[in-house]
Amino acid sequence: MVAAARAISGKLTGFVAGDDFWRGVVAIAAFLIFWEAGSRSHAWFGFSFPWVSQVPAPTAVLQAMFRLVQEPSFWNSTFLSTLRVFEGFFAAMLIGIPLGLAMAVSRTFFGISFPVFEVLRPIPPLAWVPASIIFWPTQELSIAFVTFLGAFFTIVINVIGGARAIDVRYFQAARSMGSSTWDIFRRIILPGTLPSIVVGATVGVGITWAVVVAAEMISGGGSAGSMGGAAGGGLGFFIWNSYVGGSYTQIVAGMISIGIAGYASSAALRKIGNLMTPWLSEN
């Protein structure tokens, strides 16, 4: 009883009091101090550290962020980027999952589509930017398309791999118990592939953030860029604009915002994924 109680309370306090937690705290604190000292080295020590002295100090970035979160245009940028990420991401899921399943299930379809898929896959999404600006009628659509490509290939590859890895005995067992082909697809292949779909989605959304920011920078912020001015074209355009305007604290503040947004998207997807695959987590 005592041992069990200790184990439970140990689990609760384990994270906060554990060695790993404190190592993390010390590491982040040391990093911030080094960064702050490096940025202010000229004022503090009378000489400039190489490279680090060019970067705005963390306290300055924090001030910039405080200012930014009170501006509606910053939130508008964040909203626009998030919207593009999820437009592209959902399109990639909507097309990628059925395509991956079809490629895994049908040998004929796989034979036809996989070579084309494999030729297109290594092309970096950003290499598509100029072509998609030409092909798509609006800037907005071309950014969404490039974002879509970022997640699409990862999702398809994961779905194919997941569906192929399902144990043969599950199919044999289902078939002996009288399952039709549709029943096997619905109750064996679909749930059997679900964990890989979740992995593909979580990785895919991360890539999507990387791609959307670069696409916004290259294409000039999309249609909203001209209307909303500096902060109207998404976080990528916001960073680019801050660079052009010489506001270095805003560049770093924008970078941190993307980091937070990307982390939040992945965490949300992981959460949804865990809810959809309860047999993997409950023990």
């Binding site: 005995r169 044999q172 067992a173 289902a174 002996s176 118990m177 009288g178 109750r187 059997g192 047999w279």
Partner: protein, 275 residues
């Protein structure tokens, strides 16, 4: 269920590997037939043929007079390792067969309830297979097969890999289930004690390419108890006879360079010295 002159080989030309050769036997209705043979002799191949997952190279397999052409509801296979669907709870796994056939009826649901109780998993109906112990998984799988009321149950070394205690409990569980439902059963094992405890008839198989070497009838009264089997003279006589035959087959396999056979011979000779 009858197998007549069944042969199966893999590969082609000079690389042909004959696994089953001219094998004939009968799985008698309402009886528990146990097949025992040296490791790697082709028992699992025979099971895939009986189940209809693979076709024999020659010979015929019939069930109730009709030839076996593919997997069917009249035969249920319980695999060596758990093939429960990991994404379904115990109850959903058991109800898989009825739902696949659109038979999610009140009768089936109450049969599922009965089976859950019979295999002692009533309190684990909502658990996923990964949350069950090895023995529980095997019992859940037995229930999942039995709900389909197959004409023949085929079990491929179902208790392999369980620890000694669990294995013994499972054998007792299984013997009770069999004695209650008396479903025609084909049970494959490498464990001679398990074979004698469970079987009505024992098929002793030859080394690869396999065929039936001898059929031994086990007419020990039911219900049986594991303790009685170890002390019963008739049971021991059967055991000695079976071990002698298996030893001969293992020697052939050993001559062919099988490590598993060498292990068997080693254990056998030690047992003979002790006995």
């Amino acid at each position: 269920m009858v197998a007549t002159n069944v042969s199966k080989s893999y590969g082609a030309g000079e690389f042909t590997k004959q696994v089953v050769q001219n094998c004939s036997f009968t799985i008698e209705s309402g009886k528990l037939t146990v097949m025992i043979g040296p490791s790697g002799c082709g028992k699992s191949t025979l099971i895939r043929l009986l189940a209809g997952f693979e076709r024999a190279s020659s010979g015929t397999i019939t069930i109730g007079g009709k030839p076996v052409t593919g997997p069917g509801l009249d035969r249920m296979v319980v695999f060596q390792e758990s093939a429960l669907f990991p994404w379904m709870s115990t109850y959903d796994n058991i109800m898989f067969g009825p739902r696949a056939r659109g038979e999610d009826t009140p009768e089936m649901r109450s049969f599922a309830e009965l089976l859950l109780q019979k295999v002692g998993l009533d309190g684990f109906r909502r658990k996923y297979p990964s949350q069950l112990s090895g023995g529980m998984q095997r019992r859940a799988e037995l229930a999942r097969s039995m709900i389909n009321k197959p004409d023949v149950m085929i079990l491929d070394e179902p208790f392999r890999g369980l620890d000694a205690m669990t294995k013994r409990l499972m054998q007792e569980y299984y013997a009770n289930l069999y004695e209650e439902f008396r479903r025609t059963t084909f049970f494959v094992t490498t464990d001679i004690d398990e074979a004698i405890y469970l079987a009505d008839r024992i098929l002793i198989m030859t080394n690869i390419p396999t065929q039936v070497r001898t059929v031994i009838d086990v007419d020990l009264p039911r219900p049986r108890h594991i303790e009685d089997i170890t002390e019963n003279d008739a049971a021991n006589a059967i055991k000695m006879k079976a071990l002698g035959l298996l030893h001969e087959e293992a020697m052939k396999s050993f001559a062919g360079g099988s490590k598993a056979a060498a292990d068997f011979i080693d254990a056998y000779s030690r047992r003979m010295v002790k006995g």
